[in-house]
Subunit: 526 residues, 2 copies
């Protein structure tokens, strides 16, 4: 018996739920985003038994899981989520999917009926494991209250397995309410697979071949990783390109940067054309987001050789360090981005001028959560040279991640300004996040790009070869009739809001929003 | 080759999606609730190719699936739903669960990546079958465009299998866009299992035993079914009780009625105490909704014998008819509910006085969708003697069904007034339904019972034995801080809205709302 177990077993005879909360806190998991039901009441009660656990309520489960994604991306530690049986988890599944693709550490606690109740077909009975499995890297059902602490420790360990995993623990109600003396000390952190020197040598040889090379990189793109990749690029003439969507990227003045692979396959193919060596760093060979009739979906150019420096679960920093050494780039200076702050823009209100206004007003050390869809590119471009910041993206393609992820990022980093670039169509999936932002008084500025359509689908409609859409089809891609009023929606959830119909109004609203304590929203009619 | 196939095969060389839409229309499925993405664009395009298919956009998938549930309950025919890969279906899963428990006929079309794209781990790749399986009675993945029409016909047949099923058809994008000459005529309706005369005799014997009998009934409780059960009850002294939650019930003046089994187990046990024969009609033995420590979850009294008249997939009408004959109740008059219209109420604004106001203003032939939670009982009580109407309930316990189901019921029955009794907590899960109500100009009156808490959880917290909740636990059950403003939320989605803080204001708002063309909402502060 370990020391921790000895000490914990003194506060014996607690509920399984209390043992789980204590296990989480001991393992460094001290935020729980929750939307509980009756079967989770003992877990809710256990939250009070532990002053070190913070609990944040979401009015919809997609808020809860998306917030845990944002929290995990910013801290590298899992938040817990608490959801109610199969349907409750179902409501949160889309943002669990996004977190799984981001490889965000996350621990989902899903309540279920008491073990002795599951044999009856009660109204809320469902195959909870079946719902959880597709979106979980790790999945377990606690069998008894005595197992809960150990299962919780395993879940945290699984969530922290490099580079991060979704761990889902199903907690039948009686395993939460029964008494137990069990406890569990934190399990050791699993380490990434070590540097593969053969792969490093192979990549270095390709980089030194004089042939066109691209380093394609994904994962948490820290300043340090980008700097190492950039040094290698400066020394060898290779290009550094990121996947179209990465979970988190350090950006801005003074940092090395990487080109982002375009979303549309034709443009991505143009960027990659002529490449002879494609070097994969914590990613896979590039493919298109969707397949289309008569368009290639495999983006590695004909005749281009694929090399893997390091897999997703490998030692990314160590592999990059080894590569820097192997190509002799230790002292190569990075190509640092300059600091440029544009003037307060004048002109029409467009996604591009919104981007310039954002760059003009850009605060220090901001976190940008980008679900701007077709309207987000202008802001990405204009803030390239802004003060250093983090940029979070939609990794799993399931829209409705922006507001929840911004919420979780703000809980993780209370001293930083969060800016949520938000398409209106995507925003409607999980708008309930605004209420949580208001309750927790989070410094989130949400910029709604109100173009009142699913613009990406209007583009894709033609690209998939479905030509000449009729009025019924177009009405499916159109968000007008009636127009959404985001100022009303935000105010309905206690969030201050402004509408901007001109660039001047937007400039003023953005300045006011960034000064505002707590959440606020700007509906920009673009 | 059938005639239908011959005639259809003349319009050859259409897309798989077009063949599916035609198959649906031929089989009587002519409404599609949709929230499409890129992989569904050909299905969207196919909607235009067929003037007989109506398509209704939801801004969130839970709206789409809940609307299909409401539509199916009111028409007995499945609506189609259209959702986008695993995460999109995930967003709709909770209301698919409710529909599955209601045994509502429903055909879900779920887009997936093209078959040749699924081998790559694209951002939106997930185990779509895995997500669909837990909430589907029937599940298939179309393999090629040539299979789609047949698969669609099978899906409709499966959805209509008595008493109704959830059928989910996964449509890889290339099966939708590839050309095909295939078509499929509607498949024959599957019939319910025939009347089991042994079971009828066994039940009749129990009813004639002179011992206390309860007929427990579920399913679509039509006027005719309730009348037959009531005749048997009048003739034999048995009681007729419905499960706590049934999908749809005919209620009101001139009709036979049945007692509703109380939600809380102790109260249900009191109602059933002393019963010697529990007769199951399209239902299962009664159990509690949740299990609790130290409380029974099995509600059949000690020493009570269980009898099954007819299973869920049996001939319910035929079995009841046979039972009426067997007990000689053919000419027994039903105990018809009188028509009583209360005066316009005065006093405080409470769930009970709201119920009286509703009964005072109650329109002819209304459809009530009850997600009033702890606040709904007053309305159920007071409208007992109102003009005949339909009453829809939350069959699967997954909250957030009210607004979507009301939307679908209104699409199904455009000439009837829909009244959605809506708890505020539950309403926040799928509030996006209001936008669809506005777009389709549906006559839905939503009454929000704004008590600003998860009241049921405050009750259940104590019932599960989690005593003395602390401030963190209570904050998880509390919807104030900030208060939701439902008038703002409704207006933000184009729905007229009133706030009522007094009963007089509520009376006026309800009268105005019922006169209003199109959707409207009343936020009642209770």
């Amino acid at each position: 018996m370990s020391d921790a177990e000895q000490s914990d077993s003194q506060d014996n005879d607690r509920s399984g739920a209390e043992s789980l909360v204590q296990t989480f806190v001991d393992a460094g998991v001290n935020v729980c985003f929750a939307n509980p039901g009756t079967s989770e009441m003992h877990f809710v009660a256990a939250l009070d038994s532990n002053p070190e656990m913070r609990c944040v309520l979401g009015l919809f489960e997609g808020v809860v899981t998306g917030a845990a994604d944002g929290y995990g991306r910013m801290t590298g530690m899992p938040a817990a989520t608490l959801t109610h049986l199969g349907p409750g988890l179902g409501n949160g599944l889309a943002n669990v999917h996004n977190a799984k693709k981001a490889r965000t550490p996350m621990v989902n606690v899903i309540g279920d009926h008491a073990t002795f109740h599951r044999k009856y077909d009660a109204p809320l009975t469902s195959d909870v494991e079946g719902v959880a499995r597709p979106m979980s890297h790790w999945l377990k059902v606690s069998a008894t209250a005595d197992d809960v602490a150990n299962d919780g420790a395993e879940a945290v360990q699984a969530a922290l397995a490099p580079p991060g995993q979704v761990a889902s623990l199903i907690l039948p109600a009686d395993t939460a309410w029964n008494r137990t003396t069990a406890s569990a000390a934190p399990l050791p952190r699993l380490q990434p697979n070590p540097v593969n020197t053969d792969q490093v040598d192979d990549v270095a040889k390709a980089l030194n071949s004089g042939e066109p090379c691209v380093m394609l990189i994904n994962g948490i793109l820290t300043e340090e990783r980008l700097a190492m990749a950039d040094r290698v690029a400066q020394a060898t003439g290779a290009r550094v390109i990121t996947d179209t969507f990465v979970s988190r990227m350090h950006r801005g003045a003074g940092r090395a940067e990487a080109l982002r692979l375009p979303y549309f396959g034709e443009q991505a193919a143009d960027v990659l054309a002529g490449t002879k060596h494609l070097i994969l760093i914590s990613t896979q060979p590039p493919i298109t987001f969707f397949a289309y009739p008569d368009k290639p979906n495999w983006l590695t150019p004909e005749g281009c050789e694929l090399h893997t420096l390091v897999e997703r679960d490998g030692d990314i920093d160590g592999s990059l360090e080894a590569l820097v050494d192997a190509v002799g780039a230790q002292t190569t200076p990075i190509n640092a981005v300059p600091h440029v702050r544009p003037d307060r823009p004048i002109g029409d209100l467009t996604p591009e001028t919104i981007g310039v206004s954002l760059a003009h007003h850009f605060p220090e050390n901001a976190i940008v959560v980008d679900e701007g869809g077709t309207c987000g590119a202008g802001s990405a471009l204009s803030t390239r040279t802004s003060a250093p910041h983090d940029w979070l993206m939609l990794t799993g393609g399931s829209i409705g991640y922006g507001m929840p992820t911004a919420t979780g990022a703000a809980v993780a980093c209370p001293d930083r300004q969060v800016i949520n670039l938000q398409a209106d169509g995507s925003g409607m999936y999980t708008l309930q996040a605004l209420w949580t932002q208001a309750r927790e008084n989070l410094n989130v500025t949400t910029i709604i790009f109100a173009n009142r359509k699913y613009a990406i689908l209007q583009i894709e409609f033609g690209r998939v070869g479905a030509h000449n859409p009729g009025p019924k089809a177009m009405s499916m891609l159109d968000l007008s009739n009636p127009d959404l009023n985001w100022v009303s929606l935000a105010e309905g959830m206690g969030v201050a809001a402004w509408r901007a119909t001109t660039l001047e109004e937007f400039n003023s609203a953005l300045a006011a929003s960034l000064k505002h304590q707590g959440p606020s929203l700007i509906e920009a009619l673009v």
